[in-house]
């Protein structure tokens, strides 16, 4: 299994799941719509990447034990706070752009083709994140949230990409929180995400 692609798919699945937690409760209606739509896109990207890796995307997404997920700790965090949520969205989108740009040059045409498709969609997420970053740039809670989440954000990218990431965000490199560990917040999310599959091993029907 390609660990880089599995990590990408797991990141997209989890951030989609976390972003969808704003559905119905975002501070303004426009953001309720935006976060729901972004979440739907991210989970769609996860599915497409899982499909590159396996014939059964649902099984790969939901039938693994917790310690086999390869997501970055950044996307595991439950952030019921707008400044932290926006800080994560912005940092994640900058990191994701760097990672997707590299995959667009991949020798495997299927990977490069999918990365190009994902990049077109992510352009809208980047605009949204950048718009909010500008709006909150002078707000102390946002600055503190970026500071707090920066070591987590660095862990999204493999070390060779981190210098570019630091340059793009105007920050210094620090010790990254790597994807070889999980935060305590993944367990609850895993329970929720895999509940249907574990309850209905033969496959749920609607």
């Amino acid at each position: 299994m390609n660990e880089l692609l599995l990590g990408l798919a797991d990141d997209e699945l989890l951030i989609g799941w976390r972003d969808s937690e704003w559905t119905g409760i975002a501070p303004v209606l426009e953001e309720d719509v935006a976060f729901s739509s972004i979440a739907q896109n991210e989970i769609g990207h996860a599915r497409a990447v899982y499909e590159l890796l396996t014939d059964d995307a649902d099984a790969l997404a939901f039938d693994r034990p917790l310690d086999e997920y390869r997501c970055a700790p950044l996307v595991e965090l439950r952030l019921l706070d707008w400044a932290r949520t926006i800080a994560r969205r912005w940092l994640y989108e900058v990191a994701d752009e760097i990672r997707i740009a590299a995959l667009m040059e991949d020798a495997d045409a299927r990977v490069a083709g999918l990365a190009a498709k994902i990049d077109r969609e992510e352009a809208y997420h980047r605009m949204h994140a950048e718009m909010w970053r500008e709006r909150l740039a002078g707000v102390p809670q946002f600055q503190a949230a970026v500071e707090e989440l920066w070591p987590y954000a660095l862990g999204v990218l493999p070390p060779p990409h981190r210098e570019a990431f630091a340059a793009r965000t105007g920050r210094a490199q620090v010790d990254a929180i790597e994807r070889d560990m999980h935060t305590g917040e993944l367990a609850e999310l895993w329970n929720e995400m895999t509940l249907v599959r574990r309850s209905e091993p033969a496959g749920a029907q609607w």
Partner: protein, 161 residues
Amino acid sequence: MVTAEQVWDAFAEIPDPEIPVVSLVELGVIRSVDVSDGRVRVELTPTFLGCPALEAMKRALVQSVAALGAAADVQVISDDSWSTDKITPAGREKLRAAGFAPPAPREASAPKLVQLQAKAFRCPYCNSTKTSLENIFGPTPCRSLRYCESCRQPFEQFKTI
């Protein structure tokens, strides 16, 4: 024996599950139809990867081919080969008439916020270019929300992708 032309004609009758004013052929999501040995091989490109209508589209294609007395093998191609430029001129006009502003042409680089805030977007109701971006995101992944300052009508703008 079913022909590719018959299959294309049948597909031209299948409405998009979310915007039924246009057919799947007008939306440009059917990349190819290949008929050999009585088997119909169809390549389908998603609009957005997370589009929930994709499964419904696949089912509709299979049923449509079954109605012609053949079996279909629908393959989803998840690369960058579909863009909103593939929507046919007839499809664009049907979208506009239904109140969905058709997408602006794709450019070489990915879209930027400054482009979405440009006055180049036309209101599908009164044709004014005095429109403003209300929300990059709309009721489905493929649409944004804009507002026409001339006729004061909110409208949905197909995202360029």
